[in-house]
């Protein structure tokens, strides 16, 4: 596993893994390799993020884990059940909140929740109690018996999260759970999702291209680029690799050549990178003024100089040379 540290595998050595992925591949007709052999394990109770731009392979990965996409190669297990050989059992231990709204608009919120409970085999009495608890918890008590078509986007998304929880899944998949929502609703939903963390035995696998979601919610993050995992560790560990401060500037002329010169002059290390005309140099404790003074001595013209704290986008750029969409 690329980028895995001693923190990169099961959080608990004794609990069985909730999700196990081994050399998982997906090639679509026409030879399109959406997922090129990825490996990761998610421990029971962990919040695991798949971070990457649109088209990176996140949704295909979740599709394979939720049995709506057939893997071309490799294996995946949910709570020990092989998704290809035991799909019904794998679906029985999981629930999904999809990126797009997938509720029956002409049914009421309660009817949608009840439908999920029945399909997942939750007995009637516990289902009724559970639905009551969840409706109160998500703040939809006054709306729950109205047709879902009358709900706002944020209310529908809350309903979907509640629905996914009705069956007490061991693995909950959240596929871009806040995309398309306004900032206030996003913030509220992130609070709800953060609240799910404390639930014993529930593992959460979420895909996102929002850095703040990944940094705020995830115990570990796998950064996916063009179907491959290019980094996998806790957000803190991934960011620590770039130090506590980075220096960023625009170069007149060829940025990659400037970067080579900076490395030769021992001003930039191997983890410095250039994207377009911008060069990013992790300082690793060095003072920015000292680095700038050293750059001044080189025949390189720079502008738009800034220092800041590194983000997961910088980790992504460092590993791939490309930029994540939806950078906050």
């Amino acid at each position: 596993m690329i980028g895995t540290t001693t923190n990169g595998t099961a959080a608990s050595a004794t609990a069985p893994a909730a999700v196990e992925v081994e050399d998982l591949r997906k090639t679509y007709p026409g030879g399109i390799e959406a997922v090129k052999g990825i490996d990761f394990t998610v421990a029971s109770g962990e919040v695991f993020g798949l971070l990457g731009p649109n088209g990176a392979g996140k949704s295909t990965t979740v599709g394979m884990l939720t049995t709506t996409v057939t893997p071309t190669g490799g294996r995946a297990r949910l709570a020990g059940f092989d998704v290809a050989r035991q799909p019904l059992l794998a679906r029985g231990v999981s629930s999904v909140v999809f990126q797009d709204t997938v509720v029956d608009g002409s049914l009421s919120g309660r009817e949608n929740l009840d439908l999920h409970a029945r399909l997942w085999g939750v007995p009637a009495a516990p289902a009724k109690q559970r639905i009551g608890e969840l409706v109160d918890a998500i703040g939809l008590s006054e709306l729950i018996d109205r047709p879902v078509s009358s709900f706002s986007g944020g209310q529908r998304r809350r309903l979907e999260i509640a629905r996914a929880l009705v069956s007490r899944p061991r693995v909950l998949f959240l596929d871009e759970p806040t995309v398309g929502l306004d900032p206030r609703i996003r913030h509220e939903l992130l609070d709800v999702i953060a609240g799910l963390r404390s639930r014993e035995e529930m593992t959460i696998v979420m895909t996102t291209h929002y850095l703040d979601e990944a940094e705020r919610l995830c115990d570990r993050v796998a950064i996916i680029h063009l179907g491959e995992i290019v980094a996998l560790d806790s957000p803190r560990a991934l960011l620590a690799g770039l130090g506590s401060e980075i220096l960023e500037f625009r170069v007149s002329g060829d940025a990659p050549s400037a970067l080579v010169a900076l490395r030769a002059a021992d001003i930039a290390g191997e983890d410095a990178f250039a994207v377009g005309a911008r060069v990013t140099v992790p300082l690793h404790g060095r003072a920015a003024s000292e680095a700038l003074a050293a750059i001044d001595a080189e025949p390189i013209r720079i502008s738009e100089i800034a220092t800041r704290v590194p983000t997961l986008d910088d980790v992504y750029l460092n590993r791939t040379g490309a930029q994540l969409a939806g950078v906050n």
Partner: protein
């Protein structure tokens, strides 16, 4: 909104994976479809319009204008029964449109994530299609009776009528579901409606005996499940001598002919259901 309340709810012990019992899962899916259909009244009323006009207006008018079939069979009830051969296909085609709506609205994805065999999504919808088609067929027959249609109802006749109607509905729904799984746009599906639901009506003996058609068309009619279904519907409700069955098989024993025709419809029903499940299951998994 209290996010902590969710965390404080008593957590489940590590339990085996959940699955609804098969019968319960099917009934749940059928219940869902029934609820959605009941909130879309046009899906119930629209398929009835044309056949109702046939039974109420066209059949009596044709009988008056032409003198009927010049046999002992009452033409009003003949066409009224034939109208059942139109209401069932139209009803099933409308039901198939719901599959496309489910797919495009996204609701289908939630069902695909459920721990149930994917073929159950087809069968759950079929249950509702059967109930709806049966009710609509009885409405059309009732309208025909109101307009003076003559029916000979016996227990055995009801069994033949219902058996034929239900098996033909299974066939038609399988066909509609198969087409719905194959097309991507609702416009394409609607464009297929005349071929699926209306064209066979004119070849299958709905308005006149197939023996009145040129030989090659009559031969084509004999391999269509609608032809066999209509012959059985009439055998059950209006023509105990089974003239329609005799036009197909040419045998001396009408009961044997009836069982053969029922077998034909049953084979088509089973085949199209299997095809529908297979096509659907392949279409929803990439």
């Amino acid at each position: 909104m209290s996010s902590t309340t969710i965390a404080e709810s008593a957590p489940a012990a590590l339990a085996p994976p959940r699955r609804a019992r098969r019968g319960s899962a099917l009934l749940t899916l059928a219940r869902r479809r029934a609820m959605l259909t009941s909130r879309t009244p046009r899906q119930i009323a629209v398929p009835l319009l044309g056949p109702a006009m046939l039974a109420l207006i066209l059949a009596p008018a044709l009988k008056k204008a032409t003198g009927g079939l010049h046999s002992q069979i009452d033409y009003t009830s003949y066409v009224g029964t034939g109208a059942v051969g139109l209401v069932i296909p139209l009803s099933c085609v409308f039901a198939g449109l719901s599959v496309l709506v489910d797919r495009h609205s996204g609701a289908q994805r939630e069902l695909l994530a459920a721990p149930i065999p994917r073929g159950f999504l087809v069968l759950g919808n079929l249950i509702v299609a059967l109930v709806l088609a049966a009710l609509q067929a009885l409405v059309v027959v009732g309208l025909s009776a109101l307009r003076g249609g003559v029916f000979h109802i016996t227990a055995a006749g009801v069994a033949w009528f219902l058996g034929a109607a239900l098996l033909f509905t299974v066939f038609m729904y399988g066909l509609a579901e198969t087409v719905a799984s194959r097309v991507t746009k609702e416009e394409d599906y609607v464009g297929a409606t005349p071929v699926l639901a209306i064209l066979p009506f004119f070849f299958a003996g709905a308005l006149f005996p197939i023996a009145a058609m040129p030989g090659v068309l009559a031969d084509i009619a004999k391999v269509m499940p609608l032809t066999h279904a209509l012959a059985l519907l009439r055998y059950g409700f209006i023509d105990p001598s089974g003239r329609g069955l005799h036009d197909i098989w040419g045998m001396s024993n009408v009961t044997t002919e009836a069982w053969l025709s029922l077998g034909v419809v049953a084979v088509f029903a089973a085949a199209l259901t299997a095809i529908a499940i297979r096509v659907f299951s392949h279409s929803v998994v990439h």
